[in-house]
């Protein structure tokens, strides 16, 4: 019965293919063999153009125009004025001395966030992957559990943790039960920043753990057996065998993490009620959002200029990542 069904299916596919062959042959005669592939790429290229390339171009258009009009064509050309406004500063390390102090506050906040977040996520993901890589009971369960937050929406993540950390949140309820005085974590700069990083680590580590776990499992088992015969201690095996061989994966994770960290916005925005306390958790994407849509002013030019600057940084990081990925393939 099964054989019959597959034979029928085969016949069907053959039939469809022979039907397709006629117009394809006609097209090849009409356009030339080499040009036919582009015809098939065309629908995707059009969509990609409308939703990716066109917005980039429009964004650059906004960045070099001023005013509050929505349509690029209605906006006066101002050249690099928006960029000048963003970058003019007496002392970059003190945002207060900059013309756009909020922008520079956001840059420094992002800078510190990226630093802490990258290191913390990388370490947590690596340790988790190393543990999950061992033959242990419930490995599948833990793997799924660590990956689960990745599936959630950033807003949901922000809300869950807010309920947990709020003045009347779960954590304080717990403290109260233990007789510890309650703490308003999200209103203290240090704690708020700490929890933004913590939430981000919790949110994303599952994804990176998965990449590292795949890398660990690609290391041939017999290398570990050879190392055991070669009298390598656990520590030495980790540092001399595992980590060097995981190197390419670690690099990919590092770059991806940096790119994603620079883009921090939604979960932090929800968690900290818009970057609070004050501007302690105000990041670049938040700055762009606030300039463009945060008030009736609609400073689209400034927002777009900031976007373009951020885009350049991300592009550089992406190029590095692509290069590394290619290098990894060569090994």
């Amino acid at each position: 019965m099964a054989i019959k069904a597959s034979a029928v299916l085969e016949r069907l596919v053959e039939g469809v293919m022979s039907l397709v062959e006629i117009p394809i042959n006609a097209l090849e005669r009409l356009m030339g063999r080499k040009r036919v592939p582009y015809l098939f790429l065309a629908p995707n290229l059009v969509l990609f153009g409308i939703f990716t390339f066109l917005p980039i171009a429009i964004s650059v258009g906004y960045a070099v125009t001023g005013g509050t009009n929505l349509f690029v064509t209605d906006r006066p050309f101002v050249g690099l004025d928006n960029f000048r406004q963003l970058l003019s500063c007496q002392d970059y390390s003190r945002p207060g001395t900059c013309q756009e102090s909020l922008f520079w506050t956001a840059i420094w906040n992002t800078f510190w966030f990226v630093g802490f977040n990258v290191v913390a996520t990388l370490l947590v993901a690596l340790v988790t992957a190393l543990i999950l890589n061992r033959a242990m009971v419930g490995r599948g369960f833990f793997r799924a559990m660590f990956f689960y937050p990745v599936l959630l929406s950033p807003v949901v993540i922000g809300l869950i943790w807010k309920w947990f950390l709020d003045r009347n949140g779960l954590l304080n309820a717990f403290f109260e039960m233990m007789g510890v005085p309650p703490h308003v974590f999200l209103l203290e700069v240090g704690w708020a920043r700490f929890f933004v990083v913590l939430v981000s680590v919790w949110f994303h580590m599952g994804f990176y753990t998965l990449i590292l776990l795949a890398g660990l499992q690609a290391i041939p088992k017999d290398l570990y057996e050879a190392a055991a015969i070669d009298a390598a201690s656990r520590r030495r095996t980790l540092f001399a065998i595992t980590l060097p061989l995981l190197g390419p994966n670690l690099l990919v994770v590092l770059i991806l993490l940096m790119i994603r960290s620079v883009q921090i916005f939604d979960e932090a925005w929800v968690l900290t009620n818009g970057g609070g306390p004050g501007t302690a958790n105000s990041f670049i994407v938040q700055y762009i959002y606030q300039m463009a849509f945060g008030s009736d002013l609609r400073l689209l030019g400034l927002a777009s200029a900031a976007s373009v600057l951020m885009g350049v940084v991300l592009l550089a990081l992406t190029l590095v990542q692509l290069r590394l990925a290619r290098k990894t393939e060569e090994i």
Binding site: P220, A226, I229
Partner: protein
């Protein structure tokens, strides 16, 4: 030093019993080959000796000390893996040095040992290359080099030639044999290739389904297989097996009836058989000869000429049992040719069809070496 003694070794993976009561003694300096079909447990046995697998029960001694609880590193063994298992991110030199560094050897001693091993294996030009920059044969040498620098009591080889092409395999086979003669260290070598076993071993251990079928020198096993399995496993083409019966027992010993009235003397112990007993006769292709009279009629189907030798494929005329006959030199019998063939004197093996064991020979007492197994 490099003596190895396994006593009542058992290994089970869960409910699957893969090794049954293995007993084996290996003398210092011996080259022992574990051979058997895939899944017979030979690699598992090697890994147990290495300490990469633990035993379910039984005892392992190396150089007289019980190593059952020792880590691989403490057993003074070195292993060459089928996949070579070279550290891909380290240079050849670093691959060779890694184990010695872990054992806290002095730098000068490490360098000296690497230089010596590199010279012995002719890998000096590649010392600073990464494994991926080497050919399969070169990687193989590096893997052997990594074992040599350790100066172990026992070398363990796990099918080390299976990733090499045929020509390189023959060459490396000879090199490993030469290496053994040079350093005279105990070597245990796992293969499924009976030619490797025959050509390299001082002692062959034939395994099937987790049991030792027979232990002995290559020629002992070839000449005196203990059962049908060993008889069929060693030798290529395989030994011919035909149904036969004991024709009679006279003053000169027993005779065997191969059918068609071909009654030939055979050297089974007359006390071990009775007239009329049904048996299986085993004759290797090379141990048939063409005879003028008294042979068994054989009908040629086709032949393969290899130049120096010819394999003639056909069947016994009466029973249609397939037979391969080996002839030296050129021989081109047309299909359908009838030949009379007979086993060479003393080259007929007789097996019990039920137990598949060889029936005792009259010269059994003259045989050297031990016969193990169930």
């Amino acid at each position: 030093m490099g003596e190895l003694k396994l006593s009542s070794l058992n290994k089970a993976f869960g409910a699957v019993h893969v090794l049954h009561d293995i007993d084996l003694s290996v003398k210092d300096g011996e080259f022992v080959v574990f051979v058997g079909p895939s899944g017979c447990g030979k690699s598992t046995l090697l890994r147990i000796i290495a300490g990469l697998e633990d035993v379910t029960s039984g005892r392992i001694e190396i150089g007289g000390r019980d190593v059952g609880q020792l880590s691989p590193a403490e057993r003074k063994i070195a292993m060459v893996f089928q996949s070579y298992a070279l550290y891909p991110h380290m240079s050849v030199r670093k691959n060779l040095a890694f184990g010695l560094e872990n054992l806290k050897f002095k730098r000068s001693e490490i360098d000296a040992r690497i230089a010596e091993a590199a010279r012995m294996l002719a890998i000096e030009p590649y010392l600073d290359r990464k494994p991926r920059q080497l050919s399969g044969g070169q990687r193989q040498r590096v893997a052997i080099g990594r074992a040599i620098v350790r100066e172990p009591d026992i070398f363990l080889f796990d099918e080390p030639l299976s990733n090499l092409d045929a020509a390189l395999r023959v060459q490396t086979r000879a090199e490993i044999t030469r290496l053994h003669q040079q350093i005279k260290t105990t070597m245990i070598y796992v293969t499924h290739d009976q030619v490797e076993a025959m050509t390299m071993a001082d002692k062959i251990v034939i395994l099937r389904a987790g049991r030792v079928e027979q232990v002995g020198s290559p020629l002992e096993l070839f000449d005196y297989p203990r059962n049908l399995f060993v008889a069929g496993f060693l030798g290529s083409p395989r030994m011919n097996i035909v149904r036969a019966s004991i024709a009679g027992i006279g003053p000169e010993g027993a005779s065997i009836d191969l059918g068609h009235g071909a009654v030939l003397p055979c050297d089974v112990d007359p006390a071990a058989v009775r007239p009329g007993q049904r048996v299986l006769a085993g004759i290797r292709p090379a141990h048939f000869q063409r005879v003028e009279e008294g042979g068994v009629p054989f009908v040629v189907q086709y032949y393969e000429s290899l130049g120096t030798e010819t394999y003639v494929y056909g069947a016994l005329a009466e029973t249609q049992e397939p037979i391969i006959v080996h002839e030296t030199g050129h021989f081109a019998p047309p299909s359908g040719t009838r030949l009379a063939i007979a086993p060479m004197p003393g080259r007929l093996h007789v097996f019990d069809p039920d137990s598949e064991l060889a029936i005792a020979r009259r010269d059994a007492g003259q045989r050297r070496g031990a016969v193990h197994g169930n």
